[in-house]
Each structure stands twice: as C-alpha cells, then as structure tokens.
C-alpha cells in the first residue's frame, strides 16, 4: 500500500441501495474527499445486516465498521430504525465479549442527499480509529 495511505483506517461501510448509496455516490460527484481505505458494500436495507458479518470484518482486519442506515427514509417500512438499532446493540454485546471496542462499530442515518454528513462522519470515525488503534 502506498505511503500516502498509512494515515487512514480501514473502514467497512454497509450502505443501502436506495437511500445511502446515492449520498455516497454524490459525495464522489461533488469531490468531497474521504480516506480511500473506506469500502462500501451495498445491501437492500440496513436492518438486514447480520452481526456475524460485522464480526467477520473485524476478524479479517477492518479497523471499523460503519452502518449508513436508512433511518426514517427506509423504503421497507418504519421499523427499520428500530431493527437496525437492535442489531447494532446485539453486535455491540458480541464485540464486548470478543474484546473488541464497541466504538469501532458506528451507525448513522444517511439519507439520499446526506453526502456532506457522510463524509464528516467518516472523517471523524477515521480520526477516532487512528487515535485509538494506531496511536
């Protein structure tokens, strides 16, 4: 990996096809930069993420996992927020029992035009991870 990338944490983003993907795409269109070690996997809905996927990412070496949640914009229904919250809570428990800092999993609602909030979130998450993991 190039010299230039040493200073960024590896972050896996779970993003949703209809809501947060457009925001992340638009961040690119607007050339809002964020660390290039941030990778996105698209899924239909944030409430469909299995805790095992997140644990797998940590096991394989990701520094952080970020859930770009649908929030109240979810096209599959109002219960999305609550369900995503529940799976994050469950994962946090699992992380604790595996001695992983629960703060390495973050979630924020990213709507379809939340490009700037997304980039802000990612930058601050990156800083946190660098401070705590690579200090």
């Amino acid at each position: 990996m190039g010299e230039i990338n040493r200073m960024s944490a590896k972050i896996l983003v779970f993003s949703t096809e209809k809501i947060s993907d457009p925001a992340i795409d638009m961040a690119g269109l607007m050339k809002l930069h964020y660390p290039p070690t941030v990778y996105t996997i698209s899924i239909p809905c944030s409430s469909g993420i299995k805790p095992s996927w997140i644990l797998h990412a940590f096991e394989k070496g990701f520094d952080g996992v970020f859930i770009a949640a649908d929030g109240s914009d979810c096209v599959y229904g109002e219960t999305c927020t609550e369900k995503t919250g529940a799976l994050v809570g469950k994962t946090h428990e699992l992380m604790k029992s595996n001695n992983i800092d629960p703060a390495r999993l973050r979630m924020a609602a990213i709507c379809s035009v939340c490009s700037e909030p997304f980039v802000k979130q990612i930058r601050s998450f990156n800083e946190y991870l660098l401070k705590t993991l690579h200090a």
């Binding site: 230039i4 239909p44 599959y76």
Partner: protein
C-alpha cells in the same frame, strides 16, 4: 460448484476514471485470479462497440459471469445486465463495481489510494460473481391504471395523456378545486389565454373522459403494495353542498356567511367566507364549506337548501399500477423583516402582486394608497448565500418582467424599478426583457455581496442599491410598493411525499434518478414525478415533464405484467427451528409457518417478499439468507476488501 469463468471489464470512462485510477494496474491486479478468464480495460464500457465485444467474449469463451468496473450501478447496472442477457447469460450473473463515484471521483486527491481502492472493489465484485447464480425474474401483474396526485396543470395534462393511452386514471387533488397555481394567474406570457382559461380548457377535456376519475378535496392517506399494484386509501372530505345547488341561493349563502378568513387563493390579500369558491368560473363548479373555519351558525343553510352538513367523510381504496406525483410548489414566504416583509405596510410578494393587478382596474391601489413607483426586488428566497435555497428559481425573472409589463399596460402611470441580480430571461423570453427596456422600465443590478436594502423613513419606503450598471453608485428609489420576487420552494405539506418515501435532492425538491438518463423516475419503482415538485419550472416545462412522466408510468404498466427482481429471502430448512421471530420482523407479511417433510419451518411467499432482509439478523439459528446478499457472498466480499 462448477468453476467460474469470469470476464472483467475496467472502464476508463473517457478519463473520468483513468485520470485518477491506474486502470491498467487494476487489470493486472485481477487478471491472475483463478476464476478470472479474461480482464480488459475499455475507454467506454457502455459504448456499443464494447457491448458487442462483451457479447462476443461471453459467447466465444463460455464465460459464466461478468464484472464491469465503471460508474455507479444507478446509471448502468441495467445496461450491462442486458448485455449478458443478449449473450444468453442469465442477467443475475452480472456484478457491478463502482470505481467512479466511489473511487476515482471520491479520491481524486489521492491517485495511489484511488487505484488501491479500485483494485479491492473489483476483487470484491469478482468474489461476489463467484457465487452469483442464474435467477428467474418474477412476473408480477401490473394494473393498467395510474394515480395522478395533484390536479394542477401538470397533473391534469398527465391524466389526459394517460387517458389517451387507454389507461384508467384517478386524479387526486387535495384542494377543493383543480388548477393548482396556474388558476391563480390571469395574464401569462407567450399566450393570450389566461391561466384560468387554460385550466378550464383542460378540465373540460378531463370530464369528458370515462377513464378518468377526479377526486377533489381528497388526500392519499395510506399506501401499500408496490409497482404494478399500489393500494391507496383516499380520504375525501365532503363539500357539504350538494351538486344540485341553485346558483342564486348559493350566492346568498355566501353573502350571509359571517366568517371571514384570509383568502389563500389571493395570497391573503383579501378575506373570503367559510363557504366559498375562489373565482366564479372555477371547477368543479360546486363551492365548498371550509369546516375548519365554519362556526356552524346555520345562516347559509337557511337560505340555501343545497347546504348539507350531514355529508360524511369518505374513505375509498383504489389499486393502481403506477403513481405519478405532480404536487407542485409553494411560493417562498419571506422571513419576518426580510426586505421589509411584514414589517413594512407596502411590501408584498410577487404572487400577491400578480393577484393584485388581476383584481384591480383603472388605478392601482394598495391598502388605500394609489401606487406609482414599484420596486421589484429579485431573487428573494433564491440564490441565497446564507440561507438554504442556493438554487435559482428559474421562472421568476420572466414572470416579474411579464407582471411589470402587464401592470404598466393596465396602469400606464406606474414606474417599474427592477432591483435584480442579473436577469435570467433565458431563450426566447429574452424578447420580453427587450420589450420591458423599451417600455422604459428601469433596471438596477446589485453586486453579489451587496443586495439592495429596504428602509422605512417615516411614511416613506426607500429601496437602496449599489448599482453595477452605473459603476456602483448608490441609487435610491422611494417606492409606493415593494414587490419581493419570491422563488419557488418545495411544498411545505409533504405528507404524500413521506407516504411514498420519495427522496429529495439538495434543493429539497423530489429527486429524479438521473437528470438525463431517467429524469422522471424515482428510486421508488413505479412512482414518477412531474412538474414543479421536481424543481422550479414554467408552465410549458411542467407540461413537458408531465407528459414524459405519463409516458414512463404508462410504459411501466402497459404490458399488463412486469418483471420484479427475484431477490428474496430463502430459508434453510435444516437450520430453521420455527421460532416465529422472522414472521414478526417481516414488514410485508411474507413469512408464515409451514410444514416441510414433517418439520415445522418458516416459508417465504416470494410474490410478496421484497428481499429487504429484515428477517435475516433476527434468526437465531442463522437459517435465512437473501438472494445475492447471502452471508457467503458478503463474507467473501469482506475477505476481498481487506
């Protein structure tokens, strides 16, 4: 599993990608993978020539799966799925990698990082392609009917166009009358017809059509289902007046009504009664009683037997194949004190001014005072440096000049002063600007950082500007009337948008999928957008978008059936122990208890399942996976990304 033979294509995007991502390096990084049969770079993956090459490659080499690394899948996922289909490969074996929006553009500041990321994204796509299976699309019945929401000019035109195509239409209007904003305008530029006349012409066409149902005073209150079959509940508020009213009685009823409320139709310039009609020729012809403001004094009932307070609210349910949104815009409401709005007696908005000149004759009088000098302050609520509305409202320059000219023709004594920020009479509208200059209107242009000011000095209202056109000289005009040229903003009442989960753009108007590729479609399948609810537009532009949306809605449902994605949840019967958690989690009632070979397990109703995956994380024994998004696929992608 048979070993895959994957073809990988990495797009330069004519420089959009290759200026920042070393595409050749990406190619080299993936070509050695065991399952990659061939890896190529291409100037334009989406070009006809490359599509043909892909078809040849697939057929000649028996590729089992294809990965294209290019722009966002929103743009070209369907393009490349079609390519694989043409090569007789199941389209669900295609996997897309977004290395433009999420690599070259997002990391244009870091070419090494962008290239490194692109390599990982392509590897992840290859990992996913390794598990991609051939799937059959579900066929869903599509109802040949469309709900058009909003009966302004855009909605009415869309309804007529759909009716012409022999499609059933339900036209739903929240207000008691049709016509939307255009019915509020009298004189229009480019035509001798008034806004009301255009509305009436369209309405008279609408009511001759058997396949259009018009619901006024009606709101959509719930939405179930999806493209092909939406079930909407519509709440119809009664008018409390029977259609067999006697006009003379009704006139009396309006006269005797003791209630006066600000008339929204006249932008609160004048009062109206609780029983009312906005203007005489308005459609539908039956007036309405505004029950929110009615005191139920019974005065109208006494003089007009058609008044009937026993009419009841009605809730009807309709099923349609597609929904066309044409909910329009609101004029911007200036903040308290913005250019003297609400703090000065003689500051009004452009829509108010248009109503004022429509209503008056002989001399122009506002609040009892004869008006001579009129100052128009442009871009109020648009092109804001500090506020949220950074956009230009497109139509206000022309609309103002037209109103000023109309006013001058009607009231020759007035003087028009245009305090503008650079006129935007684009296209043929330029002629109107030239006419205005010729008629003696004065144009003063402000600097971007020095907007005009409105000050009250005793009884005088003074508008000051540093005028670019006279070397920044401070010029002041004592105005009898200040007209704030307010732009277009999204409707404040967005209940129906929320109901359909329509996404909004940066400007908060409804957002299209892609301005050029799919300008009237939204990310909600089967819901199209038309007119000013998508962004500021003039009448002709709204109609163009309405007809485009009508064509799109029609083409979605015209075949009577449509394909739906076969991405559904699947149950592993060996793992499932039926606990019911998935059934409780499913928002679509797609999961039920069933018996398979003597074992009680969950079963998925594929026709109803939307593949959201909400059931998967709640399954303790991990028996649920969503097609194309299974744990195997996701984990293999994670492995490739690290």
């Amino acid at each position: 599993m048979k070993k895959k033979k994957i073809g990988v294509y990495i797009c330069h995007c004519g420089g959009n990608i290759s200026d920042y991502v070393d595409v050749e390096k990406v190619r080299q990084a993936v070509e050695g993978e065991d399952i990659v049969f061939l890896a190529k770079t291409t100037m334009f993956a989406c070009s006809d020539a490359n599509q043909r090459e892909m078809v040849n490659d697939i057929e000649a080499n028996g590729l089992t799966s294809v990965v294209v690394a290019s722009c966002s899948p929103k743009l070209h996922l369907l393009t490349f799925r079609n390519v694989t289909q043409r090569a007789n490969l199941n389209k669900y074996t295609y996997v897309h990698a977004n290395i433009r929006e999420q690599a070259s553009w997002a990391h244009s500041d870091n070419k090494i990082g962008a290239t490194e990321k692109a390599i990982h994204l392509v590897k992840a796509a290859i990992a996913k392609a390794n598990y991609a299976e051939a799937l059959e699309t579900n066929k869903v019945k599509a109802l040949k009917s469309v709900a058009v929401i909003g009966a302004g000019v855009a909605g009415m035109k869309a309804a007529i166009s759909l009716s012409n195509k022999e499609c059933e239409v339900v036209l739903i209007e929240k207000e008691p009358f049709v016509g939307g904003r255009v019915s509020q305008w009298d004189s229009l530029s480019t035509t001798t017809e008034t806004g009301k006349e255009i509305v009436n012409r369209l309405y008279n066409d609408l009511i001759t059509r058997e396949n259009i149902t018009i619901c006024t005073n009606s709101e959509v209150i719930s939405n179930k289902g999806s493209v092909g079959n939406f079930t909407l509940k519509i709440k119809k508020t009664p008018r409390y007046i029977s259609t067999s009213f006697h006009p003379e009685d009704l006139k009396k009823a309006i006269e005797v009504c003791p209630v006066e409320v600000p008339d929204e139709f006249n932008f609160r310039l004048t009062p109206r009664k609780a029983i009312y009609k906005n203007y005489p020729g308005e459609y539908p012809q039956t007036p309405v009683i505004d029950l929110k403001n009615c005191t139920r004094c019974g005065a109208c009932e006494k003089v007009c037997p058609a008044v009937n307070f026993s009419e009841e609210e009605d809730i009807i349910e309709i099923s349609v194949g597609s929904v066309l949104m044409a909910t329009g815009f609101d004029p911007y409401t200036p903040a308290y004190g913005e250019f003297g709005y609400a703090t000065s007696e003689n500051v009004i908005t452009l829509p108010q001014f248009k109503r004022l000149i429509d209503e008056q004759s002989d001399t122009l009088v506002y609040k009892g005072k004869a008006i001579q000098n009129i100052a128009y302050i442009y871009c109020v609520g648009s092109r804001q440096a500090k506020g949220d509305n950074t956009y230009c409202s497109r139509n206000c320059c022309t609309s103002t000049i037209h109103a000023a000219l109309t006013a001058k023709n009607k009231f020759p004594d007035i003087n028009n002063f245009h305090f503008n920020r650079g006129l935007r009479t684009y296209g043929k509208q330029e002629i109107l600007y030239a006419d205005s200059l010729r008629s003696g209107d004065i144009y003063l242009q402000s600097y971007e950082d020095g907007l005009p000011t409105v000050t009250i000095e005793g009884k005088k209202t003074i508008v000051k500007i540093n005028d670019i056109l006279t070397n920044g000289k401070e010029i002041e005009v004592e105005a009898d009337l200040v007209v704030l040229v307010t732009g277009m903003v999204p409707r404040a009442d967005n209940k129906v948008g929320t109901l359909f989960k329509l996404p909004k753009g940066r400007d908060k108007f409804y957002n299209e999928i892609h301005m050029k590729l799919r300008p009237v479609e939204t990310v909600i399948d089967g819901v199209t957008i038309a007119g000013a609810c998508q962004g500021p537009k003039n009448i002709a532009e709204s109609v163009n978008s309405a007809l485009s949306a009508a064509t799109k809605s029609y083409s979605i449902i015209s075949k009577g059936e449509l394909e739906s994605e076969p991405l559904v949840a699947t149950i592993d019967p060996d793992r499932c122990t039926w606990c019911g958690a998935c059934e409780a989690a499913c928002p679509f009632d797609a999961i039920m208890k069933s018996e398979k070979e003597g074992k009680i397990i969950a079963a998925i109703n594929n026709a109803v399942c939307k593949g959201c995956g909400m059931c998967a994380p709640v399954c303790e024994p991990d028996a649920i996976n969503v097609t194309a998004c299974s744990s195997t696929e996701i984990m293999s992608m994670i492995d490739a990304l690290v």
